[in-house]
């Protein structure tokens, strides 16, 4: 265990690699921007003034810290382990995404950038970027697949209200990966004055490490809170995984606590054997996309596959490279939950706790529903409730056959 701890602490290496994963696989035009960003981030992450300012906005604007809520009725309902919910859904804008966008947009401002761009799937990262951009007074453009624009109309309108430009992306599968391609293309053309706010722990170095650090506030708070409530660390951490930023934010501060088991829940869509899912680690192979080497869903010729998930935020064919690394090192376990299981998690949490979760977070709840009943009553599970479900009401109503 000591050996594992040492190896897990020093990542990424100076080239931005987590063992074989990660890296900077981008066209030359972007390389200088990544190097500039790395230098700026390395400077500001140790800068007291920057961190004080970031803490101020996280507290006074985002509303942190978020509660660690003991889900008593859910615990009783499942009849096993004690379940705590990390309430990231209570953040301003309704999800964990804002932790990262406040950090990155603040950094963009320090770097003197005049404009930020972002990709978005469910629209949560787009809204969180548009929000931070409005608050810091900086121009913002969000790229979004036309399929996601259709299923997340509410968030599209929110971004527009926040004075952001929303650019529809009609290429490939018209979802998150294509939005990210288009954001990268736009960044390639505007790199001299534009900061690209990536929404998850993926992309070229330094993004996976930087987004992880901004999201680590989740795990750092959780650690303090659970110690205060229970006087000990949890036995399990459970979080859903698309790109994996809410999971990494919760996991990372616990990575050296060997007794804390981590479980990432990927989207199994209609089932892992149907080909219609988004479970990159559970069912993918290592490859290179969007600037990093990681587990990807791809066909037998190395072409990226179309993905499916009921939740737009998990509908991505890759995963952050540090998760691939955690998987390889067996530091975290990666499982999956189907659309149907997620809907059941959605329903149970809503009815038992009066909390309507995002469909993304419902995958984590779904897994907790599988594991908690089999565990002793003194086992502690912390599940990251990464976002609230308001944005998914139309999707759920549609499935239930209700017209709103």
């Amino acid at each position: 265990m000591e050996e594992m701890k040492a190896r897990l602490s020093d990542m990424p290496d100076e080239r931005g690699h987590f063992n074989e994963f990660g890296g900077k696989y981008v066209a030359e035009t972007l390389m200088p921007a990544l190097i500039e960003l790395e230098a700026a981030y390395t400077h500001y992450k140790n800068d007291k003034e920057f961190n004080d300012e970031l803490d101020y906005y996280l507290k006074e604007y985002v509303g942190r810290e978020t509660p660690l809520f003991f889900a008593r009725r859910l615990t009783d309902y499942l009849g096993g382990a004690k379940i705590y919910l990390k309430r990231e859904d209570l953040n301003h804008t309704g999800a964990h995404k804002v932790n990262n966008t406040i950090g990155q947009v603040l950094l963009a401002k320090k770097m003197g950038k005049k404009r930020v761009i972002a990709e978005t799937g469910a629209g949560q990262h787009g809204v969180a970027t548009a929000t931070a951009a409005a608050m810091f007074g900086i121009e913002c453009e969000v790229f979004m697949g036309t399929e996601d624009i259709r299923r997340q109309a509410l968030n599209v309108f929110r971004m527009k209200l926040l004075a952001s430009k929303v650019t529809p992306v009609e290429s490939g599968t018209n979802t998150l990966k294509d939005a990210m391609n288009e954001a990268l293309r736009n960044w390639t053309a505007t790199v001299e004055n534009t900061f690209y706010v990536i929404g998850t722990v993926a992309g070229p170095h330094p993004y996976p490490a930087m987004v992880r650090d901004f999201q680590s506030v989740i795990g750092n708070e959780t650690k303090r809170q659970i110690m205060a409530i229970e006087g000990r660390l949890p036995d399990y951490l459970v979080a859903c995984i698309g790109g994996g930023s809410n999971a990494m934010g919760l996991f990372y501060p616990f990575k050296d606590d060997a007794g804390v088991r981590m479980i990432g829940v990927e989207a199994a869509g209609l089932g892992l054997d149907t080909g219609k899912h988004s479970a990159s680690i559970c069912a993918g192979k290592v490859g290179v996309l969007h600037g990093n080497k990681t587990y990807l869903l791809q066909d037998k010729n190395g072409q990226i596959q179309t993905t499916h998930s009921i939740s737009a935020g998990l509908d991505y064919p890759g995963v952050g490279p540090e998760h691939s690394y955690f998987h390889e090192m067996k530091r975290a376990q990666y499982v999956s939950a189907t659309d149907e299981e997620a809907l059941s998690g959605f329903k149970v949490l809503t009815e038992e706790e009066g909390i309507i979760p995002a469909l993304e977070s419902s995958h984590a709840i779904a897994h907790v529903m599988k594991m908690a009943p089999k565990l002793p009553k003194d086992t502690i599970i912390v599940v990251n409730l990464s976002g609230r479900g308001d944005k998914d009401i139309y999707t759920v109503a549609d499935i239930m056959g209700v017209t709103l």
């Binding site: 080239r15 890296g23 900077k24 696989y25 981008v26 066209a27 030359e28 035009t29 972007l30 390389m31 200088p32 921007a33 190097i35 290429s171 490939g172 990966k177 294509d178 391609n181 990268l184 293309r185 390639t188 053309a189 505007t190 790199v191 001299e192 192979k285 290592v286 490859g287 290179v288 996309l289 969007h290 600037g291 080497k293 990807l296 791809q298 010729n301 190395g302 072409q303 990226i304």
Partner: protein, 299 residues
């Protein structure tokens, strides 16, 4: 011509096997084996011309037609050909080449198909061919296996858009062993430090990207290009080609004043978007390439 490379002064030719001659040049202390690409640069530049390098996507719209287009490109004056490998997520390409990639993938064109096409072309033509694409299909195929198979098929060079010098060590030992040139991109944003790194890792030539942006035909060229050419060339001991956005003979003429080669992609790929007849397509592409090639001969 002003190329400060050890091997460029000439030398003796010997048959080195494979599809073309390899030129072994004796400098004072070493024997430098010149790749087919370097030989082609030397030959064309020594005629007082610059090189014209067209790009097409393999399998757009199908492999059989790509083979015919390759021969027509060569007949019409292409000095080297860049052959695109289709990829589902071409992040550095504009709409024209994205669409070409989609057309090829619609026919399930694979990297193996591209190599098989290249091997067939080699039975009829020895024009230097550079494979250009993204890293994932190559990584998935296996870097070493790819280098061996690409060489066997007759590839002379390789451009992997999203594999910068910083990450190339996982591929370059294999392509070096096979004698395949790796051509890196240099960009308007590249710093002096980056240019030095690019120079240290490139062989064959260096591909200067004319614009801060993705591929795609543009009507006007950036004003700063000529100015930048001297800086780029000051770092490079090998020739420098320029591409991205170039679409007219006037562009070619202008750029040939400062660069050793001009690469045109999207403006040629556009002909393949809407094909009324194969003969007309080949004639249109051929005529366009002839025009562009003659624009390299003005100096």
């Amino acid at each position: 011509m002003n190329l400060p490379v050890a091997g460029y002064g000439g030398g003796s030719t010997k048959k080195a096997g494979g599809h073309t001659n390899k030129l072994a040049c004796k400098s004072k202390r070493y024997v430098v084996f010149m790749s087919n690409i370097s030989v082609r640069f030397k030959d064309v530049l020594s005629r007082g011309e610059k090189l014209f390098i067209p790009y097409i996507m393999a399998g757009d719209p199908d492999i059989a037609l790509t083979e015919k287009v390759i021969y027509r490109l060569e007949e019409s004056g292409a000095d080297i050909i860049e052959l695109g490998i289709p990829f589902s997520d071409p992040m550095a390409d504009g709409p024209t080449i994205q669409a070409a990639s989609e057309r090829a993938l619609k026919n399930d064109v694979t990297l193996s198909d591209v190599l098989a096409l290249l091997a067939r072309v080699r039975t009829k033509s020895s024009i230097p061919i550079i494979l250009m694409g993204y890293y994932n299909p190559i990584f998935f195929y296996g870097a070493e296996r790819f280098a061996v198979d690409a060489k066997r098929a007759g590839a002379d060079g390789l451009i992997v858009v999203d594999l910068p010098p910083d990450e190339v060590d996982e591929l370059k030992p294999f392509t070096d062993k096979e004698g395949i040139d790796i051509i890196f991109l240099a960009a308007p944003t590249s710093t002096d430090e980056r240019l030095k790194l690019i120079a240290s890792k490139s062989s064959g030539f260096v591909y200067y990207v004319s614009v801060t942006g993705v591929t795609g035909a543009r009507s006007t060229l950036a004003a700063a290009i000529q100015h930048k050419s001297e800086l780029i060339k000051s770092y490079m001991e090998i020739p420098v080609g320029i591409g991205f956005g170039i679409s007219t003979p006037a562009h070619v003429t202008e750029l040939c004043r400062s660069f050793d080669a001009v690469i045109v992609g999207s403006a040629i790929v556009r002909f393949l978007e809407d094909i009324s007849s194969e003969d007309k397509l080949l004639d249109d592409v051929g005529n366009f390439v002839k025009e562009l090639k003659s624009a390299t001969k003005v100096n």
